[in-house]
C-alpha cells in the first residue's frame, strides 16, 4: 500500500538529499578556494622573505662600510643583527619551498653565495681592526669580489622570485575558478531546491489536503445535522481511502442507529402516551405525584373529579390541602409521608376534604418513589372515594344488627319448634296406640259379636292409626335431619347399602331382588344422616319394584367433572317425568297408598340430607320401567 506517511517521508528525504548535496558542493568549493588562497599567501611570503634577505644583506654591507671608513664599532650593530636575521629568513624560505625541488636547488646555491658574501664582509672587518687597518681592508674591498658575490646573489633571488611569481599567477587563476564554481553551486542549487520543494508541496497538498478538506467539509455538514450528506467517493487504498471508507461505514451505522433510535423513541413516546392516557383516564382513583416535600407535581382526571380542584389550581401546592384542619393540626400529612418512607408504603382510611370543603371518606395509599440509583424523589398517592362503601358498610352493620335480632328470634322459634316436636313425639303417638291397641283387642276378643263390616271398620281404624304414626315418625325425622349438627367422618356407602338391603331381605324374605352394589364407595359425611338417606332411597327402590318378578336394584357411582355422582337405579314402577318437580316436596306422592304405601316424606328427607352435605339430587324415570336417583355430596366444594 502506498501510504501517505511513506509519501511524506519520501518527499522530505528528497529535500534532505537535495539540500545536503548543495551544502556539500558549497563546502567543497569553499575548501578548494581556501586552499588556493593559502597558496597565494604562501607565494607572497616566499617573495617577501627573499626581498628581506636582499635588504638585510645590503644593511650588513652598509654597516661594514661605515665601520671600515670610520672604525667606529657603532656601525657594526646593523651588520650583526642583519647576519642573524638573514640566517632565520633563509631557514623560513627553506621551509616554505620544501615541496619545490627547483627552488630548493636554487636555495642551496643562494645559501652558498650568502655565506661567501658574509665571509668577505667579516674578513674586511677583521682586517680593519688588525694592524693593516683601513688600508688592508681597502685592498680587499677594491678587489671587487664583494660586489660580484652580491650580484650573483641578486641573480639567484631574481630567478627564485620569478618562479614564485609564475606560481602566483597560476594559483590566482585557480582561486578565480574556485570562486566561480562556488557561486555557481549556490546560485543554481538553491533555486532548484526551491523548485523541487514547491513541487513536492504541491503534490502532497493535492493528494492529501484536498480530499481531507472535502472530507472535513462533509464531516462538518454531518456534524451540523445533515446526516445524509453524501460522503465523496474516492477510490484510494491509502489512509484517506481507509478514512473515507470508515467514515462511510460510520455514517451508515449512525443512520442505522438513528433509525433504531427513532423507532424506539417512537415506541417510547407511544407507550408514554398510552401510560399517560391510562393514568389520566382513571376516573375513580385520584393518582397524585408528590415531590419529597409533599408538593403536588402531577395528577390525573380522577384526582380532579374526586378533589374538585383543576390541575392549574393545585400544582405546586402542598398535599396537606386535602386534609381536615384537625389532621393538619396534629401533623398527620407529614406523619403519613414519614410512615411511607419508613415502611415502604402507607395506607389509611379516613376523612379527606374536597375543594368545596365537603368531606369524604377516603382510602389513601402513599408509596415513596426512588430512581434506579435509589435516590428518593417523591411519592405517588392514590386516593379513592369510598364514601359509598362506607355508607354501605354502615348500612350493612345496621342490617347485621337486624339480622342478629332476627336470628335471635329465629333461635327462639327453633327452640319452640324443638319443644313442639318433642311434644309431638311423646303425645301424638299415644292416642294412636290406644286406637290401634283397643281396636285390635276388640277384633281379637269380640270377633263373634261383630259383623264383617264392623270388623272392617275396626281394621281401618287400626290402619289409619298406624299410618298416622308413620307420618309422625317421618315428620320428626325431617325436622331432626334439618337441625342436628353434622359430624363429618369417612363413611363407606357400599357397606351401609349392603346392610340396609340385607335388612329389607329379612323383612320380605319371599321377594326375589337382584342387587348390585359397587364396593368401597368411601365418602366424607355424617354417618347417621347418610344412613337415613340410603335407607329411604333403597326402601323406595325395594318398594317400587315389589310388582316385578325380576326386580333389580343397582347402587353405583360415576365420576364426572371432578365430582362423583352416586346413583340408585331400579326397574320398578318409575313415574311420569312431568311430575318430577313435585317429587321432592314433603307429603307429595305420585302413587296411591293402595298401590305403594308411603308418607311422601322420604324424598324430601333425602334431599334435605344431600343438601346439608352441599350436594344435589335429581332423578330420571320412565313410567313402568324404573327410576334412577342421582346424588352428589358436594365433594368439589369441600
Amino acid at each position: 500500500m502506498r501510504s501517505i506517511g511513506w509519501r511524506i517521508a519520501g518527499s522530505f528525504g528528497v529535500v534532505l538529499v537535495l539540500l545536503s548535496s548543495i551544502g556539500i558542493l558549497a563546502f567543497l568549493s569553499i575548501r578548494s578556494l581556501n586552499s588556493d588562497i593559502q597558496w597565494v599567501i604562501h607565494t607572497h611570503l616566499v617573495i617577501e622573505n627573499l626581498d628581506e634577505i636582499l635588504s638585510l644583506l645590503t644593511d650588513a654591507e652598509t654597516g661594514q662600510r661605515g665601520f671600515l671608513i670610520t672604525g667606529q664599532h657603532a656601525y657594526l650593530g646593523p651588520y650583526t643583527s642583519a647576519i642573524t636575521q638573514v640566517r632565520q629568513r633563509l631557514q623560513t624560505v627553506y621551509d616554505l619551498t620544501h615541496d619545490n625541488p627547483q627552488q630548493q636547488a636554487r636555495l642551496v646555491q643562494l645559501t652558498a653565495l650568502i655565506q661567501r658574501k658574509l665571509d668577505e664582509l667579516r674578513l674586511t672587518i677583521v682586517l680593519r681592526q688588525g694592524p693593516g687597518g683601513f688600508q688592508a681592508a681597502r685592498t680587499v674591498v677594491l678587489t671587487n669580489r664583494g660586489k660580484q658575490i652580491m650580484d650573483g646573489i641578486r641573480v639567484v633571488v631574481t630567478a627564485m622570485e620569478q618562479d614564485e611569481q609564475s606560481l602566483l599567477t597560476q594559483r590566482s587563476m585557480a582561486t578565480q575558478a574556485s570562486i566561480h564554481d562556488t557561486i555557481l553551486v549556490i546560485a543554481v542549487g538553491i533555486p532548484v531546491a526551491f523548485l523541487i520543494v514547491g513541487l513536492l508541496a504541491f503534490v502532497i497538498t493535492r493528494s492529501i489536503a484536498v480530499p481531507l478538506g472535502r472530507l472535513t467539509a462533509t464531516a462538518e455538514q454531518i456534524a451540523a445535522g445533515q446526516i445524509n450528506t453524501k460522503v465523496p467517493e474516492v477510490r484510494r487504498r491509502d489512509e484517506i481511502g481507509v478514512l473515507q471508507q470508515s467514515f462511510r461505514k460510520m455514517q451508515e451505522r449512525v443512520t442505522e442507529r438513528n433509525a433504531a433510535l427513532e423507532t424506539s423513541n417512537e415506541a417510547l413516546r407511544r407507550s408514554e402516551e398510552q401510560f399517560r392516557l391510562m393514568v389520566e383516564s382513571v376516573k375513580d382513583y385520584a393518582i397524585i405525584l408528590l415531590d419529597t416535600a409533599g408538593h403536588i407535581i402531577n395528577w390525573n382526571v380522577g384526582a380532579e373529579r374526586i378533589k374538585g380542584y383543576r390541575a392549574d389550581e393545585i400544582l405546586g401546592k402542598s398535599f396537606s390541602i386535602f386534609y381536615t384542619p384537625e389532621d393538619i393540626a396534629t401533623g398527620k400529612p407529614q406523619y403519613e409521608l414519614e410512615q411511607a418512607l419508613t415502611n415502604g408504603r402507607f395506607e389509611d382510611e379516613w376523612w379527606r376534604v374536597r375543594k368545596d370543603g365537603s368531606r369524604f371518606w377516603a382510602n389513601v395509599n402513599i408509596t415513596p418513589l426512588y430512581t434506579a440509583e435509589g435516590t428518593h424523589f417523591g411519592f405517588v398517592k392514590v386516593t379513592r372515594d369510598i364514601s359509598e362503601r362506607r355508607r354501605a358498610e354502615v348500612e350493612m352493620q345496621a342490617l347485621n344488627a337486624d339480622l342478629l335480632q332476627r336470628t335471635a328470634a329465629l333461635e327462639v322459634a327453633v327452640k319452640e319448634l324443638e319443644g313442639f316436636s318433642y311434644s309431638v313425639a311423646h303425645d301424638l303417638r299415644s292416642p294412636l296406640r290406644s286406637l290401634d291397641g283397643f281396636s285390635k283387642y276388640l277384633l281379637e276378643h269380640s270377633r263373634e259379636r261383630l259383623n264383617a263390616q264392623e270388623q272392617d271398620y275396626l281394621y281401618r281404624m287400626r290402619m289409619a292409626a298406624q299410618r298416622m304414626a308413620r307420618l309422625i315418625d317421618d315428620l320428626l325425622d325431617l325436622a331432626r335431619v334439618g337441625r342436628t349438627p353434622m359430624h363429618i367422618e369417612t363413611v363407606n356407602l357400599s357397606e351401609l347399602a349392603t346392610d340396609i338391603l340385607a335388612g329389607l331381605r329379612r323383612r320380605d324374605p319371599q321377594r326375589q331382588v337382584i342387587t348390585t352394589i359397587v364396593p368401597a364407595m368411601l365418602v366424607q359425611g355424617d354417618r347417621g344422616l347418610l344412613q337415613i338417606a340410603l335407607e329411604h332411597l333403597l326402601e323406595n327402590a325395594w318398594k317400587f319394584t315389589s310388582t316385578r318378578k325380576e326386580a333389580r336394584i343397582t347402587f353405583d357411582m360415576i365420576a364426572s367433572a371432578g365430582e362423583r355422582v352416586f346413583h340408585v337405579q331400579d326397574n320398578g314402577a318409575g313415574f311420569n317425568m312431568a311430575y318430577v318437580d313435585k317429587l321432592f316436596h314433603p307429603f307429595q306422592r305420585l302413587h296411591t297408598e293402595e298401590e305403594f304405601p308411603g308418607t311422601g316424606i322420604g324424598l324430601a328427607l333425602i334431599q334435605r340430607i344431600v343438601q346439608r352435605h352441599g350436594g344435589r339430587i335429581w332423578t330420571e324415570a320412565i313410567e313402568q320401567q324404573g327410576a334412577t336417583f342421582y346424588f352428589t355430596l358436594g365433594e368439589d366444594k369441600r
Binding site: H426, D427, S430, R433, S434, Y441, A469, L476, R480
Partner: protein, 152 residues
C-alpha cells in the same frame, strides 16, 4: 317371699291398660304395679307418702319408666333411683313414645338398663312387652335384694 313385681310408671291410662293387656298374655299381668307419676313412683319405691304403709322389703324386678310424666319426669326419677344407695342397682327400662336422640342419650347417661320406644302397632307393642317381661322376669338375674329390708 313375695311374688316378683313389675313397676309401671305411666301417666296414660290407655297405655297402662294396653301394657296390662300385653302382660296378661304372658301371665305376669297381676304382678304389675302401676303408678301414675314420678312422685308416686318414688313414694312407692321409698315407701313414703301414700305408700308409706307398703312392705318396704318388696322391690320390683324391673321398673318400666315413661319419660313424660306429671310432677317429676321420668329422667329425674331415674336420676334419684341411681343416687339412692338402696335403689341404685334396680333395673330400669325406659318405655316411652319418643325416640328423640336427646332422651336416649340422657337416659343411658343416667344409667337406664334399656330404652324401648312404644310401637303404635298393638301387635308390635304386645310383642315388645312380652319379650320385655320374659327377659326381665325370667332370663335376667336380678341384683341381690338390698340391705334396707334387714335393717328396717
Amino acid at each position: 317371699m313375695n311374688e316378683p313385681v313389675i313397676l309401671l310408671v305411666e301417666d296414660n291410662r290407655d297405655d297402662a291398660e294396653l301394657t296390662r293387656l300385653a302382660l296378661s298374655d304372658c301371665r305376669v299381668a297381676n304382678q304389675m304395679v302401676w303408678v301414675q307419676d314420678g312422685q308416686e313412683a318414688l313414694d312407692w319405691l321409698c315407701c313414703t307418702g301414700t305408700h308409706a304403709e307398703r312392705d318396704p322389703c318388696l322391690l320390683p324386678t324391673v321398673v318400666l319408666l315413661d319419660l313424660k310424666l306429671p310432677k317429676i319426669n321420668g329422667l329425674e326419677v331415674l336420676e334419684r333411683i341411681r343416687k339412692d344407695p338402696f335403689l341404685r342397682r334396680l333395673p330400669v327400662v325406659i318405655l316411652t313414645s319418643s325416640k328423640e336422640e336427646q332422651d336416649i342419650i340422657r337416659g343411658y347417661d343416667l344409667g337406664a338398663n334399656s330404652y324401648i320406644q312404644k310401637p303404635v302397632d298393638f301387635e308390635q307393642f304386645t310383642h315388645s312387652i312380652k319379650e320385655l317381661g320374659v327377659y326381665w322376669m325370667v332370663i335376667n338375674e336380678p341384683p341381690p335384694s338390698g340391705t334396707k329390708c334387714e335393717n328396717a
